[in-house]
């Protein structure tokens, strides 16, 4: 008797995409095939894609220190509702995750309350101050594989070089919030026709581009694995493509909001379109979509960044940066980029799990592996009306989206069902 059988879906398996059933027992996939026998529970997946649960390399769970925005329980519940089974928690909490005991705190809290697997990223520098190395060895021993001062770039090239050399020897990844702090300092939105019309200080594309270019040079020098967070410009995509061609160990992510929106949406001065890097020009959006399709951009990462109403229901310039995204990233990627099933799961699950180092996630389904699975209907059109996050700073609410996570299974347990 199986615990659960998924029937009738189009399943991404280790032998390709097949119309088969999937049986789950004790948290693992027991069998894949047809006529698998009786189960305590059966879920009809007719018309849906079945594949490895989504993996987010870039989530702000806000715990510890900012629990009024989100916590590990609410953030991972939002993840489960969006089809995620694993997330990397960004370390710009209070205190920032710059030492081993802090990363272990996140892991302990997650064991108690999370609906997905959670691994914390660690800071590159102490206190995210950009000056001295964080406790990189301690963090590594606590399970950290991604090191970043996300929320800020490491401004000092010499500090970054040293940190890259150290992380390279550990085998980790240096992930950069690739926005130059000086070129972006005064700005609130993309520098272009809309900022000019609104009289608002802009952030030029070059703020991203100069930092990515510098970091690529340093990655080549140090041999570090380098990951560009939330790519936003056409030139950034070209820089990553050229670096890959040059044999540099580089990966890149794009957020769902940069796939769906552009600076025209900021004309409303609605603060739910304020984030860093900013929404750019439609030509950048087109380049990001093409980059994700071609694989120059490896993954979709949400940059899920909950902010409370008191931090968003204010004039645009006063609002904090960030939008939530875990619940809608799969839908937006499906609707905006229209990938086939295998590429879709590659960008949403397989590649992020491989880069972030989640051995039990992002694997095409096969007998014997952990049952971390999403059932995703790529055709359904729906309009999200609410959120399970603690925060409502979501530009997707009230908009038509295409595709939806129907059921999410984490280690064999159903964490979300529509």
């Amino acid at each position: 008797m199986h615990d659960l059988v998924l029937t009738g879906g189009s399943v991404l398996t280790d032998k390709g995409i097949r119309d088969v059933d999937v049986a789950i027992v004790d948290g693992r996939i027991e069998a894949i095939g047809s006529d698998l026998g009786d189960a305590t529970q059966t879920i009809d997946c007719d018309g849906a894609w079945v594949g490895p649960g989504f993996v987010d390399m870039h989530t702000h769970l806000r715990e510890p220190g900012h629990e009024w925005k989100e916590d590990i329980a609410s953030g991972t519940a939002a993840g489960a509702a969006g089809g995620y089974t694993a997330v990397v928690a960004m370390p710009n909490t209070d205190p920032p995750i710059d030492a081993g005991h802090l990363a272990r705190f996140v892991a302990d809290q997650a064991r108690r309350s999370a609906k997905t697997e959670v691994v914390s990223a660690g800071c590159l520098t102490l206190g995210r101050a950009g000056e001295r190395m964080a406790h990189l060895d301690e963090l590594w021993d606590a399970g950290v594989r991604i090191f970043t001062d996300d929320g800020d770039a490491v401004r000092n090239a010499s500090v970054l070089r040293t940190a890259m050399e150290y992380v390279a020897q550990l085998g980790g990844i240096v992930a950069q919030h690739a926005v130059d702090p000086d070129l972006s300092a005064a700005g609130f939105m993309h520098e272009g026709a809309v900022s000019s019309r609104l009289g608002m200080y802009g952030i030029p594309r070059e703020a991203d581009n100069v930092l990515i270019a510098r970091d690529i040079v340093l990655a080549k020098m140090t041999g570090a694995r380098y990951h560009v967070q939330h790519l936003s410009t056409a030139e950034g995509v070209a820089l990553v493509a050229a670096a890959k061609g040059d044999g540099i160990d580089i990966t890149a992510e794009v957020t769902p909001h940069h796939l769906m929106f552009d600076h025209e949406d900021v004309r409303s001065t609605d603060s739910n379109f304020k984030m860093m890097p900013p929404l750019r020009d439609p030509r950048d959006t087109a380049a990001l979509i093409e980059g994700l399709r071609s694989g120059v951009i490896d993954v979709v990462a949400t940059d899920h960044a909950p902010q409370a109403a008191t931090e968003k229901d204010v004039p645009f310039e006063h609002a904090l940066n960030g939008v939530t995204g875990l619940e809608w990233a799969g839908s937006v990627t499906n609707g905006e980029v229209a990938l086939d099933q295998s590429l879709f799961f590659d960008r949403m699950s397989v590649a992020p799990a491989r880069i972030a180092g989640f051995p039990d996630h992002g694997r095409p389904l096969a007998a014997g592996i952990a049952a971390n699975i999403v059932v995703f209907d790529p055709e359904v059109v729906w309009v999200p009306a609410n959120t399970v996050s603690k925060s409502v700073n979501a530009p997707y609410l009230g908009r038509e989206l295409k595709g939806k996570a129907k059921t999410t299974i984490f280690n064999g347990a159903i964490t979300y069902v529509e």
């Binding site: 272009g192 019309r197 009289g199 001065t269 204010v314 004039p315 645009f316 310039e317 006063h318």
Partner: protein
């Protein structure tokens, strides 16, 4: 018209109706008793989150000339300094029973937020470097009184256009009324995308001066004089200032305008500012009449009913 937030989407008829109304109120202001009972019983709140004396006084004078009551808000002495949000401040003042708010705020879009949060007309008294629509209306009124019409006039707006809500408001109002606008300034103070605006651009005032009807000087923010966006104030004056020598080259009917407060000796020579063809004080007087027209338009219909 439910609010006055921007000149960008006003059409020619809407602007001309407001200017006609302003001319009428300008006449009221010349009477022995410069006051009409049009808005008796109404309350206008001036919510200036950014320091301003002249614009606030102008709105309050306009409201009083229409017999409205005024209440005012100043950030320095308010609950804002105790951490109250803009939204709560606005809701609180509304709950006192005000009928219209004039808002000035350093953030772009602040007036739009108030229009969303509240159920009364909002007048944008200046939001960041974005819009300041009553300034543009009073400027157009001043030009129209002098020339009869803005059609085919050539107007040069000179100075820090990039950071100017006065320029952004005037560009739309003036061109909608048929004028041709030339932006003049150093590249660091011009919009980054001049081709997207209904204007032409010149980098020196001497190239275009002979052919200009109105020279509209913007205030140089002297705190920008330290080499951040132009080399020095004296170099600014030598390239863009309305010096006596340049003023002498202006056509005989040409005029000079300035939204104030002006820096004599920087963007405008001491003597030029006092010349009969510098209409700076007419602009100020017209400001009251224009704001009467705006308040009357937004509150008056209901009163007459």
């Amino acid at each position: 018209m439910n609010h006055l937030l921007s000149t960008e989407h006003l059409d020619r008829t809407e602007i001309e109706d407001l200017l006609d109304e302003s001319d009428g109120f300008a006449e009221v202001l010349t009477r022995p008793i410069p006051k009409v009972p049009a808005l008796r019983g109404k309350t206008v709140a001036t919510m200036f989150f950014e320091p301003s004396t002249r614009t606030r006084m102008s709105f309050e004078k306009a409201a009083k000339a229409l017999s409205a009551d005024t209440v005012s808000f100043s950030p320095g002495t308010s609950a804002l300094s105790k951490g109250e949000s803009l939204k709560d401040t606005a809701l609180t003042v509304r709950a006192m029973g005000v009928d219209l708010m004039v808002v000035r705020h350093k953030a772009t879009g602040a007036a739009w937020r108030l229009a969303e949060w509240l159920d009364i007309p909002i007048v944008n008294g200046g939001d960041g470097a974005h819009q300041h629509p009553t300034q543009a209306l009073l400027d157009c009124l001043t030009i129209r009184q002098r020339f009869g019409s803005l059609d085919d006039l050539r107007i040069a707006i000179v100075g820090d256009i990039k950071h100017s809500r006065v320029a952004r408001s005037n560009i739309f109002a003036m061109t909608t009324l048929g004028a041709e606008v030339v932006l003049v300034g150093p590249p660091t103070l011009l919009p980054i995308d001049p081709e997207a605006w209904p204007v032409t651009v010149a980098y020196g005032i001497d190239d275009i001066l002979d052919d200009i009807d109105v020279v509209y000087l913007l205030r140089v923010q002297t705190e920008r004089g330290g080499g951040s966006v132009f080399p020095s104030l004296s170099e600014y004056t030598s390239r863009f200032g309305m010096t006596s020598a340049r003023f002498a080259r202006l056509k005989p009917e040409g005029i000079v305008m300035h939204p104030g407060p002006m820096n004599r000796g920087v963007e405008i020579d001491y003597d030029v500012a006092d010349d009969d063809r510098a209409l700076i004080l007419e602009q100020v007087s017209n400001g009251v009449a224009t704001r009467m027209a705006v308040l009357f338009r937004l509150l008056g219909g209901e009163h007459d009913a």
